[in-house]
């Protein structure tokens, strides 16, 4: 079963701890992150998302980010983190 977690609009320093805690609640199952409301993605939350994706993958679960706002996609591209977040179509689900 895939759970859905809606990401906050502002993913900055303050959002990093809550994001990790929220992701932890879905540990052990596949999770789909809804990034459609994200207006700002900062470096610290990016770290949480990338680390989470690795952990989920190692445990044999999926962590997908879908749907995504334009701001989220732009930020991911700016950070060169699309592959790390599994946003590239060909890499979807793969660990970069």
């Amino acid at each position: 079963m895939t759970n859905t977690l809606c990401l906050d609009p502002v993913l900055d320093l303050k959002a990093a701890h809550p994001l990790k805690a929220a992701l932890n609640e879905h540990r052990g199952s596949s999770v789909q992150l809804d990034a459609s409301q994200v207006a700002r993605l900062g470096g610290l939350c990016l770290q949480v998302l990338v680390a989470a994706r690795r952990a989920w993958s190692e445990e044999g679960h999926d962590l997908t980010i879908e749907p995504r706002s334009a701001a989220f996609s732009t930020a991911a591209a700016l950070f060169a983190a699309e592959a790390h977040l599994g946003l590239n179509a060909e890499n979807d689900g793969a660990i970069p």
């Binding site: 990790k20 470096g43 610290l44 990016l46 770290q47 949480v48 680390a51 950070f79 983190a81």
Partner: protein
């Protein structure tokens, strides 16, 4: 308060300082200063505002600042000549930037129309300046004597100076925790780099721990950005200026690809630099040409190497580790403190002063001699209390620069509106005065400057006709004098038209037609309420627009204002204000059983007159003979209504005071207690305004004492007396 909000407030405070630096830098350049550091400082100011604005997502401000900054960069790079028209344009651009900052502070955006116009002007300067290019000379082609026609053809000659060439740079940066905690973002840095040219970004995630061991607020990611750009290394480094100390950065220029005519002979410069930065000189010497530099230095590299300059490398390496030349401002160690905390401290010190006075009074009441241990201890305590008070007041003291630096813009705007040419000269900007005073002098200064330009200065045509330069000068100066701050606003205009001012005063019923007034008294008529309205006197050479309002607000500050004027040469307003509104040195006196305080700054001397020195004039008035002069007597008790009969000056004490309204006066009191520093407590905020009284204080015995407003008191007395054109003289005879 939200942490981000607090940082934002700090950002806007910094913006105010930076805008001040920007304007003063440009004004210095406008005045002919040629120090290249000035244009660098101006550039840094705009750049810093842009950087901070980016962190808060103030896009409109960033966009505008970017264009402004680009032009400034061209100027400092020598691409654009810094001629006079350009400096004027830059000053206007600074005004628009200030508008943007002010709008952003209120949560809005700067005016789109003025921004668009300014951006267009700036861009015109960036692309070579708005100067029309001269048409190409036409060449007459005629056959020479052999009948051969030479036709000119255009040859493209390779430029000797190739100018800036696109280069590739590898920028590696790793944000530290502080970068994020200071509300900065790695993404903003990448975006800033992107503004400089084409980028390829690589996320370096090797240091990222597992999800379980990840502290979400610890920075682990680094980025490697490959940038292709024409801008110099300096510009790239400036991207990281805001995050200095919060981000490990290396910037390495990639070696140009070897060409057929220029084989790669030496070692790869980029690799040598990287090795040098990593601290391995030997490796630098042996570096292989293809080695890529990826080292992340713990500190931003100190030395920037010139283009492919191998000979300079040794020198560069030897300077490794030296701190980069920090901008001067960075050396000032300052802290930002909430003003409320300082106000609270000042209040507490005020209470301490009162308490110390009470203690002294009680001790003396118990019969301790001043020379006793207790007496000496109290003296020391008093000295210490005073030192603490001075030091605390010094914390709140600010240079008047913060007020003065707003004035050049005002002057430009009024000059623009009136069509006059004005040069503003400021002096004594570093003069310090208490924040409470600073906050309230801006308005009177603004008013006086407006008056000086609008009514004091002539039009360029009139000036030329009068044999003066077309550009008028307005001088704004601040200085300390006699424990007060003096602000002077002078102009070299035509001065007050006294016959006209006198006539206006007569027309308005302010003076009688036959009143005998000195020049000074005529000049001071402009301060009378109801003397003028802007519409009616804007066509005369004098001043007077709302000067009564100015005087009122100055008096409200415990200050005085006076004017001196010379026909044809100009006028000068002089404002004298207390340095602080918190404490006052005063003389404690007794009047009709009341304890009052007279500000020491107003007192010239105190004396006990002999009966022969007192001359009665009329039924109520009197004068005191003081060294060959007669000074009007002012009975404090009667003017304030404490008593109905005048105190005999010969039985009391007289304080000679200087007042702005009526010159020197002799205040009559019953006795003097002594000199004391008192803490001012506002009467208006705690009770209500009382004529003749400036404020109140609490004395050592806990009683409230009123502080006299000497000028108001003298004015009250003058109003009480019959006027010169009324039957007063007859009554006196």
């Amino acid at each position: 308060m939200d942490e981000l909000e607090e940082i934002k407030i700090t950002f806007f405070q910094e913006c105010d300082e930076l805008l001040g630096d920007l304007e003063s830098g440009l004004l210095s350049i406008d005045a002919g200063a040629t120090d290249p550091e000035l244009i660098n400082a101006v550039f840094r100011a705009v750049h810093s505002i842009k950087g901070g604005a980016g962190a808060f997502g103030l896009e409109a401000l960033v966009r505008y600042a970017h264009v402004f900054e680009t032009l400034l960069d061209n100027v400092r790079g020598g691409k654009t000549d810094l001629r006079s028209e350009l400096v004027k344009a830059l000053l206007r651009a600074a005004d628009v930037l200030a508008d943007h900052v002010a709008a952003a502070k209120q949560g809005g955006e700067g005016d789109a129309v003025s921004t668009a116009a300014m951006v267009e002007e700036l861009e015109a300067w960036i692309s070579g300046g708005p100067v029309p290019t001269a048409p190409a000379e036409e060449v007459n082609i005629e056959p020479n004597e052999d009948g051969i026609v030479f036709t000119p053809i255009k040859l493209s000659i390779p430029e000797v100076d190739e100018g800036p060439k696109e280069q590739a740079w590898t920028i590696t940066f790793q944000p530290m925790d502080e970068l994020y905690s200071k509300a900065n973002e790695a993404g903003l840095l990448i975006r800033e780099i992107e503004r400089l040219g084409k980028i390829e970004v690589e996320l370096l995630d090797d240091a990222l721990p597992t999800f379980d061991s990840l502290d979400p607020e610890t920075a682990h990611f680094a980025w490697k950005v490959r940038l292709r750009t024409e801008v110099p290394e300096e510009r790239i480094r400036e991207v990281f200026e805001f995050v200095e100390g919060h981000c490990s950065t290396t910037i390495v220029r990639e070696a140009p690809a070897p060409t057929a005519t220029e084989p790669a002979a030496g070692p790869d410069i980029a690799a040598i630099i990287a090795a040098a930065q990593a601290g391995d000189a030997q490796a630098a010497a042996n570096s292989a040409p293809s080695e890529e530099a990826t080292a992340i230095a713990p500190e931003p590299p100190a030395a920037s190497l010139p283009a492919a300059a191998v000979p300079a490398l040794a020198e560069s390496m030897s300077s490794r580790g030296a701190p980069p030349p920090a901008p001067e401002k960075g050396n000032q160690a300052t802290i930002r403190v909430d003003p409320e905390r300082i106000d609270k401290l000042i209040d507490l010190v005020g209470e301490l002063v009162i308490n110390q006075a009470m203690l002294a009074q009680r001790v003396s009441g118990h019969g301790f001699a001043a020379s006793s241990d207790v007496g000496r201890g109290l003296d020391e305590l008093e000295q210490l209390t005073r030192d603490i008070q001075d030091s605390v007041m010094a914390i709140r003291a600010q240079p008047v620069k913060s007020v003065f630096q707003r004035m050049p813009r005002l002057v430009r705007e009024i000059a623009g509106q009136t069509g006059k040419q004005v040069r503003l000269v400021t002096e004594g900007e570093g003069t310090e005065v208490d924040k409470t005073v600073i906050e309230r002098i801006s308005e009177p200064i603004t008013h006086m400057l407006r008056n000086a330009i609008d009514h004091g200065l002539e039009t360029p045509e009139e000036r030329i006709e009068a044999g003066k330069p077309a550009e008028g000068t307005v001088r704004l100066a601040a200085l300390h004098r006699g424990g007060r701050i003096v602000i002077e606003v002078g102009d070299d205009g035509k001065g007050i038209n006294r016959p006209r001012v006198r006539q206006l005063a007569i027309d308005r019923g302010l003076i009688s037609a036959d009143a005998q007034l000195t020049d000074e008294e005529v000049d001071n008529l402009i301060f009378l309420p109801g003397f003028s309205t802007a519409a009616k006197i804007s066509d005369i050479s004098g001043r007077g627009v709302g000067m009564d309002v100015v005087r009122k607000s100055v008096q409200g500050l415990g200050g005085r204002i006076s004017i001196s004027s010379k026909p044809g040469l100009g006028s000068m307003f002089t404002l004298s204000l207390p340095l602080t509104l918190a404490v006052l040195d005063g003389m404690v006196i007794d009047v009709a059983g009341q304890t009052l305080v007279v500000p020491l700054t107003a007192i010239v001397e105190s004396l006990r007159p002999t009966p022969t020195e007192v001359k009665k004039v009329g039924a109520q008035g009197g004068v005191l003979a003081v060294r060959d002069a007669y000074v009007p007597l002012v009975d404090i008790g009667r003017v304030l209504g404490f008593q109905t009969v005048d105190t005999n000056p010969a039985e009391g004490v007289v304080l000679l005071v200087d007042s702005e309204v009526g010159g020197r006066a002799a205040l009559v009191a019953d006795s003097i207690h002594g000199q004391r520093q008192v803490v001012i407590k506002s009467l208006e905020s705690n009770y209500q305004q009382v004529p003749g009284i400036a404020a109140a204080t609490i004395l050592g015995d806990g009683r409230v004492a009123l502080i006299l407003d000497v000028d108001a008191l003298v004015a009250m007395r003058r109003r009480e007396l019959p006027r010169a054109d009324e039957p007063f003289i007859e009554a006196a005879e």
